[in-house]
């Protein structure tokens, strides 16, 4: 098997790298090189369409060639795109793109939520409930509003991405710093407790606060963004 192993290793090495081939238009090694390259391009462009557009085709193809040379590890091709994201984060060629981290998260998270399965049930509203963020939702602070197409000027914002169970699609919603604080507090206490903490923090009347929080939490429960802790 030594010879066979060496042949296979050399074959993969040629496919992974850009070394010149004799008569490339008729060289079948080039056929394999192209097949692998296009498989990666197709997958990555499907998952990161906006990012690929922002970086431009030349740079994208160059980065994909480098990524192939480095070697993808996950046997599931969909998960390869996450590896590609990590590769981009550490690549010097993407250093000037301030929005990169946010856009990678935004585009990959949509696919991630679409590919998940969920067993959590819709929660009812109750002040004494300990709510947490469901597995069908993701929340993040962004430095660029990439979801509005803003890639030039930094602007801090909080975003929720959530899976819509009726339409079987992923939606996003910008939330206020207050709403974000509420979700953070809810991760470690009941809704009643979170309202008390926030009332103190913002120096607001608890009664007034309860009204707006009730509307918000009811909506999130309905969207299954929040679920009851016990139901996890």
């Amino acid at each position: 098997m030594k010879t066979e192993t060496a042949v296979m290793k050399r074959f993969v090495q040629i496919i992974q790298n850009d070394e010149a081939l004799s008569n490339p238009f008729r060289n079948r090694l080039q056929v394999y090189r192209d097949m692998v390259h296009f498989r990666f391009v197709e997958t990555i462009e499907n998952i990161y369409p906006i990012l690929c557009k922002k970086l431009g085709p030349q740079l994208v193809h160059e980065l994909i060639r480098e990524f192939i040379a480095k070697g993808a590890k996950n046997p599931f091709i969909v998960k390869m795109s996450q590896e590609f994201g990590d590769f981009l984060r550490h690549n010097p060629k993407t250093k000037g793109y301030g929005f990169l981290e946010d856009l990678l998260w935004f585009e990959y998270s949509e696919l991630d939520l679409l590919n998940r399965d969920f067993n959590e049930v819709k929660a009812g509203f109750d002040w004494n409930t300990h709510y947490i963020l469901s597995s069908s939702s993701l929340i993040r602070n962004l430095s660029y509003k990439v979801y509005t197409g803003e890639f030039e000027s930094p602007c801090i914002a909080s975003l929720i991405l959530y899976y819509n169970f009726d339409e079987k699609r992923v939606y996003f919603e910008e939330i206020t710093p207050f709403a974000q604080q509420l979700i953070e507090q809810l991760q470690s206490m009941t809704l009643e407790g979170a309202v008390s903490v926030l009332a103190q923090m913002y120096e607001l009347d608890t009664k007034v606060l309860r009204e707006s929080v009730e509307t918000l939490v009811k909506k999130w429960c309905n969207q299954r963004i929040l679920i009851k802790l016990t139901e996890v």
């Binding site: 296979m8 496919i15 993808a72 599931f76 390869m80 399965d117």
Partner: protein
């Protein structure tokens, strides 16, 4: 071993909903486990409805049985869990390799066709079968380059199947594509396959590059006349279930069912099992 009969179709996400509303469904379906292991919520209900209603064969793409390294156990565990979950008895894979040294290419790469490889692959097949507790059916893959050979493709395949005491998924389109690209007679190749070793067959479309005298096994085109005719001749000798494989450039299900009807007619003519 055959609990599926007649004609099959590869199930794809692109037409999952349309498939459910089909009045006359294919006799059986083939699925790619890698595409369904993490079944998303949006497809789960439809997928499970189909899985419970028709005979199913799983056809994998990432096992890399020809790689000189041991099988990725964690990957195999995922496959076994999936097959067990849906009670899928039949699992097929490609006679090729797609990963080496932990690096994935996500393509089916050609194997050196040697006696050492016959034993190496045969032993791996046995280990996979022991682990999965079900037979591993091997497909003759298409290849565009033969990197290092000491035997003909058909002998290589026959010896592996015999050594591992397993069965073959005979892809008729791949025989045609390989015959054209490597200059052998597809009918002669098929004559040398022992019919009792064939579990089922694939038929698919390919792309022709006349300038380069190259056929590419794309699974993205309609099945050409010459491949239909080759299937017809093959069925005279090998009487097993057949299915249409379409992975790329997937047309509306209606269009695909026209091809399926054509397949059914050919198969009915031959009185295939």
């Amino acid at each position: 071993m055959n609990t599926f009969h007649g004609c099959g179709l590869g199930l794809r996400r692109e037409f999952l909903e349309d498939f459910i509303s089909l009045k006359k469904k294919p006799d059986w379906i083939e699925i790619t486990p890698e595409n369904w292991i993490f079944t998303p919520h949006r497809y789960r209900e439809s997928f499970e409805q189909i899985m419970g209603s028709l005979p199913v064969v799983a056809h994998g793409v990432s096992l890399s049985i020809g790689s000189p390294e041991p099988i990725d156990k964690s990957f195999l565990k995922e496959i076994k869990a999936f097959l067990d979950r849906y009670k899928i008895e039949h699992y097929s894979e490609h006679l090729s390799f797609s990963s080496l040294g932990g690096v994935q290419t996500y393509e089916l790469l050609p194997l050196p066709m040697t006696r050492s490889m016959v034993m190496h692959i045969g032993d791996k097949i046995k280990r996979v079968q022991d682990f999965l507790q079900r037979p591993l059916i091997l497909e003759n893959a298409s290849y565009y380059l033969a990197p290092y050979n000491e035997m003909h493709e058909v002998d290589f395949i026959n010896e592996i199947v015999q050594y591992a005491d397993t069965k073959l998924l005979l892809d008729v389109n791949n025989v045609y594509v390989n015959g054209t690209n490597h200059g052998f007679d597809p009918d002669d190749y098929i004559r040398q396959i022992p019919p009792s070793r064939v579990a089922y067959m694939h038929i698919a479309g390919h792309l022709e590059y006349p300038d380069e005298v190259l056929l590419l096994d794309t699974h993205g085109e309609a099945i050409c006349k010459k491949v239909w005719k080759l299937l017809d001749r093959t069925l005279k000798k090998i009487n097993v279930p057949v299915m249409i494989e379409r992975d790329n450039n997937i047309p509306p299900l209606k269009e695909l069912m026209q091809e399926y009807k054509k397949l059914s007619k050919i198969v009915a003519k031959r009185g295939t099992k």
